[in-house]
Symmetry: C2
Subunit: 438 residues, 2 copies
């Protein structure tokens, strides 16, 4: 997964120090030289966000051509042009998310175009109105804390920051968040009310939680009776290898352990069909779903049923979903491979430089030596390669080691990705060379 | 507007009392007889919600047939299939609401499919994060109260109830809410943080606020520095007569008075294009808009831009909007006229029975003698005519005089409306006859 080949070794001898200094100088000049050549190319590439490429959006072309002129009645007989109908969403739309999440249709609500909005609103409901378990509103509960596995998704953290919720970072290790730390935090501290989880092909590491991690999350004892997992299964069917990764259903796992209302599960079709014009879904226990519906029904008269129907007409059967995801993989996998093989080639010899090689999702996490991430991102920007801001994957945008860079290879073309990966490698080498001269 | 013809007069004389009792008995039996005949017809009509009819939805048929197969780039060059683009909405979608509201495009955000959701979320933001004027979050400000003109829109009140916000009912009189009471409340009580307003063709009375009322609302002195008007201009272009009613722009009025951030203005195309698949908009001051955007951007990556583009392609120029509203009027006006003329014919002779004859909007408010509304609605339901629950137009669903009934004539066909209006009149007469016998 990562490279640990040794670099030149410095020994505490004056002559050798001098030699080492000269060597560092030489490395720096070589790196600077390569960086100047990179800059001269005048690239203009954006790898900052996990956006699908136009080619991928083209796979949903039939949706763009669909007309509802004579096709606006749902399977349950609802006129999708008008108010009314089921506030949990059309049956056929809930079916799509049942395929995606492997959860019973009865436990799924489809609402809006943004799973992030569903997460945001559930936190707002918990703050203002109290939990499905009947506990009082969080605004009346003193300090509220969330466990935040890091590196993680910047928008998760921004929501908490804006609500004044304390973020407790816990490192992501090989099989997911460091569970010893998680279990201790939730057991000891009743202010720990929730935890963000991206269980599969996580943003930005690409890590998938192991079955053991998921079982521990679903069954751990928590001091807070209204503790919830915010289970953002954003990349449930977004495989990059031909070996689809399977994870246990957290709703089953936590129900079996006696914590039926523990998890709110989220998904969307933003990276399946159309980004921004997709569908978002919540899957959770019966009681949680009723709780959500009771609050959500006050907020709006209902979802855009025509967009739900549009999706249902496009994704008629599970195999159409599978084929679509296979098309996405055919475009995305070569881009990820290009980044990874370029990093192997150009960064493989560097100490303290490593990267993830995910089996799915939209991101690669590149780790550089302590203190080099911000400088690398800056150098890349100056050379026309926009990366996600260093630190973005951490609460308060603060990566204390300044060593993580999120790479989003989905949007540019394959040829641009090759340029960008090489460019990033050049910037990493220069940032390290600069830091070693200091 | 209302009927005040005198009924039979009872005099305090035994013989005459007996005669009067007999007369009441006779009136009751006649009413019961007519009601039994109504019931025997086995009607099944729903006049409970302001839903457009299928004929009206058909006016937006071109939207249902629109394909974005080769048409997904906005005027600003945004690929509407993907994430990104302006988070205040597409320029062309904001333009539509500029026509509807008469407000500058720069002060308009288009987001989601539900203006109610925009209202809900702004209240949630104010509660959790504080106001655009920099005041502290309402959850930290002790008791919060809203002025609620009554009768009003049930969903406005449900939101407040769920947030635990105190509702202060103020009667709607001829020119809008009773402004003497309003001015006194906001001047004296700093817990009064906001007021619901439906300034034009109000739900359910159909009343339009006079220019003087609007000027008083925009310029009144309030004890709370973070006082806001929630200005739900839901029926801005929904005329029923050929004389379109004009109201002053509250944003202008309040800015001129030195209260630039006072009003949040809301509108949607739910009753212009497609209900549930329409667009919703917020119009407000620069500072309010930035405040809203700063919170809303954390909630979601952005609106459904394809649906905004779909609207822009359909409502290309202001005259297409005008023509569309004219089509709606051609269907709606005869239904309203049918209700009104039936009420004149069958209820015109009754004391304490009156109804509004709105120049726009979706509702007629029928006033019956104190204590007769619930019974009338119940009788109607038993005869197959579903009306909005009595009391729904009041905070906590409590119409203390039990005298208001909201009539929604939009959804049924004209022939059904005739049946329904006659049926309602029969129920009113029986409810009154019953109460007079007690």
């Amino acid at each position: 997964m990562n490279k640990t080949n040794p670099k030149s070794i410095t020994v505490s001898c004056d002559n050798e120090s001098l030699a080492s200094l000269k060597e560092k100088q030489w490395i720096y000049e070589d790196a600077l030289n390569k960086y100047d050549r990179l800059k001269a190319r005048g690239l203009s590439l954006d790898m900052s966000r996990g956006k699908p490429s136009p080619t991928q959006l083209g796979f949903s072309q039939p949706m763009l051509s669909w007309t509802s002129a004579n096709d606006f009645i749902s399977i349950d007989g609802v006129d999708c042009r008008n108010y009314g109908g089921p506030s949990l969403g059309l049956s056929e739309a809930r079916q799509i998310f049942s395929w995606i999440l492997g959860t019973s249709t009865a436990n799924i609500a489809v609402a809006g175009n943004s799973s992030l909005a569903l997460m945001h609103d559930i936190i707002a409901f918990l703050m203002l109105k109290g939990s499905p378990n009947g506990n009082k509103p969080w605004v009346k509960s003193g300090q509220i804390s969330f466990i935040c596995p890091v590196p993680g998704y910047d928008r998760h953290f921004s929501i908490l920051e804006s609500f004044g919720i304390t973020m407790l970072p816990v490192p992501i290790i090989e099989n997911g968040p460091d569970m010893d730390t998680v279990e201790q935090l939730v057991f000891e501290d009743p202010s720990v009310k929730a935890m963000w989880c991206m269980p599969k092909y996580s943003n930005p590491t690409g890590i998938t939680y192991s079955a053991e991690t998921i079982h521990r999350l679903g069954s751990m004892k928590t001091a807070a009776l209204d503790f919830h997992l915010f289970w953002d299964n954003a990349y449930a069917v977004h495989h990059l290898s031909d070996k689809s990764v399977f994870i246990p259903d957290i709703l089953d796992v936590s129900a079996t352990a006696g914590y039926e209302n523990r998890a709110f599960v989220f998904a969307s079709t933003s990276k399946i069909t159309l980004s921004g014009s997709g569908l978002a879904a919540l899957a959770t226990s019966d009681q949680n779903l009723s709780w959500w519906q009771s609050h959500s029904d006050l907020r709006s008269i209902g979802p855009d049923k025509l967009n739900q129907l549009r999706h249902a007409r496009f994704l008629k059967v599970k195999s159409s979903l599978d084929r679509l995801m296979e098309s996405h993989r055919s475009v995305l996998a070569p881009k990820f491979n290009a980044v990874v093989s370029t990093f192997h080639r150009l960064l493989g010899s560097l100490n303290e430089v490593e990267w993830t090689e995910p089996l799915g999702g939209y991101f690669i996490n590149l780790k550089v030596p302590t203190g080099c991430a911000t400088r690398t991102v800056q150098l890349a920007a100056d050379a026309g390669i926009v990366l996600t801001a260093a630190g973005a994957s951490f609460p308060y945008r603060k990566d204390y080691k300044d060593c993580n860079i999120r790479i989003a290879p989905s949007f540019p073309t394959l040829s641009q990705i090759n340029d960008a990966a090489e460019g990033i490698a050049v910037c990493v080498r220069l940032a390290i060379a600069e830091s070693e001269l200091e």
